[in-house]
């Protein structure tokens, strides 16, 4: 078993700048009178791995959740593969309407793994991994089964297919959730604090799976408090505070040589973390 925090950033990252597959411009999010995201411009190229860090309430989860429209942006546009999503109403460029069918297509392409797993308790592990394929992609059962089994094997749970999620440990549940997302073959994977609700001894098995996905060159965004993992996982680190990107750079730049006082103060609170 490999150590989960072995560097992956030493893997050959694509040096040629790829065109962005995800582009965010002028993103604002209000919850009532609370201005959670205060104008974010950002883009992700294929193969990039972005770690988003920041204190609680900084807006990092909200930012991630806007990318697959689990939260609707209050204003701003998001583009996938250069195509802006939603339709702006004439005269009011801030009012963007999103038809359900378009959001569904986006979510098929941008998968998500949640802090609380959100597995379906009335379905077995295999049924969980097949659900999106059968219901959303209208795939034949046999074909869906095959693909779901492949992904469950990949996360090391090929032997738990007929078990219900309630019988699994948190780490196993999160790995099923990852397999469920992978089965959809998304172009981008979003991880929203995937290890935050796990017992410490179960964190490693989940991080190992994420690391393995990094080695495959997948495009991923990860909101995390595991700074050590972020350092080795990411090609780019974003420090979010008060709804804006305070500092963006390579893991070395942001985590080891932060230029902003605010970033430094945040990092100092993680006394136990070392690279």
């Amino acid at each position: 078993m490999q150590d989960p925090i072995m560097p992956v950033s030493i893997l050959p990252a694509s040096q040629v700048p790829a065109p962005p597959i995800l582009q965010v411009s002028g993103l604002h999010k209000w919850f009532g009178t609370l201005h959670v995201l205060q104008g974010i411009d950002f883009s992700v190229a294929a193969g990039e791995r972005v770690a988003i860090i920041g204190g609680s309430g900084s807006g990092k989860s909200t930012f991630l959740r806007c990318l697959n429209f689990m939260e609707m942006p209050t204003s701003g546009r998001i583009a996938l593969d250069g195509t802006p999503l939603g339709r702006a109403s004439a005269g009011k460029p801030d009012e963007v309407r999103y038809p359900e069918s378009e959001l569904c297509r986006v979510r098929e392409r941008v998968g998500m793994v949640f802090q609380q797993f959100n597995l379906f308790p009335h379905m077995t592990v295999l049924e969980n991994a097949m659900e999106g394929l059968v219901t959303v992609k209208r795939m034949k059962k046999a074909e869906a089964r095959e693909r779901a089994l492949r992904e469950l094997d990949k996360v090391g749970l090929g032997n738990k297919t007929d078990v219900y999620p309630g019988r699994l440990s948190g780490g196993q549940q999160q790995r099923v959730a990852i397999a469920r997302a992978l089965a959809m073959e998304p172009e981008i994977l979003l991880f929203d604090e995937p290890t935050s609700s796990l017992d410490p001894e179960l964190v490693g098995e989940v991080l190992r799976v994420i690391r393995q996905l990094a080695e495959e060159g997948r495009t991923m965004l990860l909101v995390t408090h595991e700074l050590g993992f972020a350092y080795h996982f990411a090609t780019k680190v974003i420090f979010l505070a008060d709804g804006v990107f305070h500092e963006v750079g390579t893991p070395d730049e942001v985590l080891k040589h932060p230029r902003q006082e605010r970033t430094r103060a945040f990092l100092e609170r993680f006394t136990e973390f070392s690279f």
Binding site: C104, L119, H122, V136
Partner: protein
């Protein structure tokens, strides 16, 4: 106690009670099925984003829950001809009354069930790209059925007993036959005891089935 229970009378009148039993079944099962199906639609209206649907369904539900069923049944029989000029048969009026009353209670069961499902279940389904209708059908409602099975059983039992009120509209169901026989023979003790036993035999299998289902489903998940 020197009262002699007249078993011969029970045997003699039993075929007539059985005819009533069949009519009770014909009232019970359809009104339960229609009521719960309509209840689901009403619950979705209660939870919808449209204020009109929310308001309308709320008024409907409260009207049926906050007035006596007996009046509702009589109302469908006597008020319908006056209001819309359609005279329903006693059976249809009773069936309609029972079904609509059941739909109001069913709606509240469904609504409570849907609201008790954690938000994460919706999100997990949404993140896979599911449409709202698919989320309900595949993820939310199967969990609601399981969670609410005891409440649905309660409703089924209530409706079975409520169907006896149809006797006031002279629907020839079990209670009607029982009352008719007991006043014909002046033997209410024998007849009504038998009627009660028949109701029990009708209802108990339903609760037994539900308990079995609950136990089997508790094994999962």
């Amino acid at each position: 106690m020197d009262y002699a229970f007249d078993f011969a009378l029970v045997v003699e009148t039993f075929p007539i009670l059985m005819r009533g039993f069949l009519v009770t079944l014909e009232l019970w099962l359809p009104s339960l099925a229609i009521g719960l199906a309509a209840g689901l639609v009403l619950a979705l209206a209660r939870l919808s984003r449209s204020r009109l649907l929310r308001g309308g369904s709320l008024v409907y539900i409260e009207l049926f829950r906050d007035t006596p069923v007996l009046i509702q049944l009589i109302w469908f029989y006597y008020a319908f001809p006056i209001l819309i000029g359609v005279q329903l048969s006693p059976f249809t009026a009773a069936l309609l009354g029972l079904a609509l009353n059941t739909s109001a209670y069913g709606a509240e069961i469904f609504r409570g069930g849907i609201q008790s499902i954690a938000r994460g279940q919706w999100e997990g389904a949404k993140a896979l790209g599911m449409r709202h209708a698919d989320m309900l059908r595949r993820i939310i409602l199967p969990q609601v059925f399981k969670l609410m099975l005891p409440a649905f059983t309660n409703r089924a039992v209530e409706v079975a007993k409520m169907s006896s009120l149809a006797s006031v509209l002279s629907v020839h169901e079990l209670m009607y036959q029982g009352r008719l026989l007991s006043s014909t023979y002046y033997r209410p003790f024998e007849i009504l005891t038998t009627v009660a036993v028949v109701y029990f035999v009708l209802i108990y299998p339903a609760t037994f089935l539900s308990m079995t289902l609950e136990r089997r489903m508790a094994g999962k998940g």
